[in-house]
């Protein structure tokens, strides 16, 4: 019998078009044996939550470099809860000031990775969280 395969949705909410980081993370998770659904740029929180539910993912990873994380990250968490999918773990990364992190975590974002984060650390965190 096959094992439970970890499924992750990687999405870019909002208006910035810089998806290099998102693609690097997607690739690293793939290389760690996970199935990664990549939805591309300019996603609204509703689009992300709908895709996460249809794809039955364990995680939603958000990347944002525009500064709108304070609005968009909690909105994704909220939209998932509205769809009875609050169990899907949301994490994020991008240009996010340390001072913003406590508020994001209080809003239900499980973990924020800032630009210094090592890619292996992200993969390991996802693995451990899934176990």
């Amino acid at each position: 019998m096959a094992d439970r395969r970890i499924r992750v949705l990687i999405a870019k909410p909002g208006l910035d078009g810089h998806d290099r980081g998102a693609k690097v993370v997607a690739r690293a998770l793939r290389d760690a044996g996970m199935e990664v659904i990549y939805t591309g740029l300019h996603q609204t929180p509703d689009m992300i939550a709908d895709a996460a539910v249809q794809e039955d993912v364990d995680f939603v990873g958000l990347s944002i470099l525009s500064g709108a994380h304070g609005t968009l990250f909690p909105a994704v968490v909220q939209k998932l809860r509205e769809r009875d999918a609050g169990d899907i773990v949301v994490f994020g990364g991008g240009i996010i000031p340390e001072g913003d992190i406590p508020a994001l975590e209080a809003a239900g974002v499980a973990r924020i990775f800032t630009p210094g984060a090592r890619i292996e650390a992200i993969v390991q965190w996802v693995r451990e969280r899934a176990a």
Binding site: M1, D3, R30, E35
Partner: protein, 321 residues
């Protein structure tokens, strides 16, 4: 295992039949992960299947399959039909992971409850679709979707499993992907019910279309047999996609009228049954081989050339009886 009054199972099946997206999505995952209890649910759903019209879209990587599917969905929705999409992408043979990126080209249907997109990884299957594709199609069918579109991985010549799952197979090509002789080879081109030359805005599109048409000339259809049309589309603008939707419908109508639909359904069910039997046999063999524990000794003997794989396999099978 399947007791008639299992409340969890009953609830799960009822939710899927009622169109509950979360319940259906989880069931699809459990089927993909080959969980035994998921197949119990599928047994209950099976009587509710057989209504959806299933089409397959296949062709070379980069031919424009996802964009074309996105456009087809728009046409189906305009005709009042609900649409489910099974989008298959390859699993890495090294890590077992996958990047599933077909949704990128299917954004315009976001928020439409009449559209459900599910991405699947091949997980080692070589025929262009995953083992679970058929099961996921059955879940969509039981949910009541009118149309199911399967988008295969980018395929070359020999990955033709799609024609054993779909009622209508659309083979997508694009200009510059091969000369006339490619079209004469066996395999993919033989399973097409409809040909599409996408990227019709390219200068050499007419020639690619002519090559395909010339090949089909040689295969003169007898009597009322369906003759695969060759259509030109530009999926980016949507040009030619109405004609494609019409061709798919015409193919269905003709198949129903000629009795070919029933023949294909039967062939499909035979393929499914055979596949299922082989799957169960393999599972049983794996468990039994594990239990007999004779494999390491045989491997040692093979290494010393004291036996050969043919004799060894036969002796293992004898031990299972």
């Amino acid at each position: 295992m399947s007791s008639p009054s299992d409340p969890t199972l009953d609830e799960r099946v009822a939710k899927v039949l009622a169109g509950d997206v979360r319940a259906a999505a989880r069931l699809m995952r459990d089927l993909d992960d080959e969980r035994p209890e998921a197949f119990e649910a599928l047994k209950r759903l099976y009587p509710h299947t057989g209504k959806a019209a299933v089409s397959g879209v296949t062709g070379l990587p980069g031919a424009g399959k996802s964009t074309l599917v996105d456009q087809l969905v728009t046409r189906h929705r305009a005709r009042g039909r609900t649409v489910a999409i099974v989008a298959v992408d390859p699993t890495s043979p090294f890590s077992g992971g996958a990047i599933l990126g077909d949704r990128i080209r299917m954004q315009r249907h976001a928020g439409d409850p009449g559209v459900f997109i599910r991405s699947l990884a091949t997980r080692g299957a070589l025929g262009g679709v995953s083992r679970s594709t058929r099961d996921v199609v059955a879940v969509f069918d039981a949910m009541g979707f009118d149309e199911v579109i399967i988008e295969t991985v980018g395929v070359g010549q020999d990955e033709v499993d799609i024609c054993r799952t779909a009622h209508t197979t659309v083979v997508v090509t694009a200009p510059g992907l091969g000369d006339g002789i490619q079209a004469q080879k066996a395999g993919l081109l033989e399973v097409a019910d409809v040909f599409v030359v996408n990227k019709a805005d390219r200068p050499d599109a007419d020639r690619a279309k002519a090559h395909l048409e010339a090949m089909l000339e040689l295969d003169a259809p007898a009597g009322d047999r369906w003759r695969p049309p060759v259509l030109a589309t530009d999926a980016t603008t949507g040009e030619g996609v109405d004609a494609l939707a019409d061709a798919i419908e015409a193919h269905r109508a003709q198949m129903r009228a000629s009795g070919e639909w029933a023949r294909r359904e039967r062939a499909r069910q035979r393929a499914e049954l055979t596949e299922r039997v082989l799957y169960l046999l393999r599972r049983r063999a794996e468990v039994a081989l594990e239990r007999t524990g004779g494999v390491p000794a045989l491997l040692d003997a093979l290494e010393r050339r004291e036996t050969d794989p043919y004799t060894a396999a036969a002796s293992l099978l004898d031990a299972l009886d």
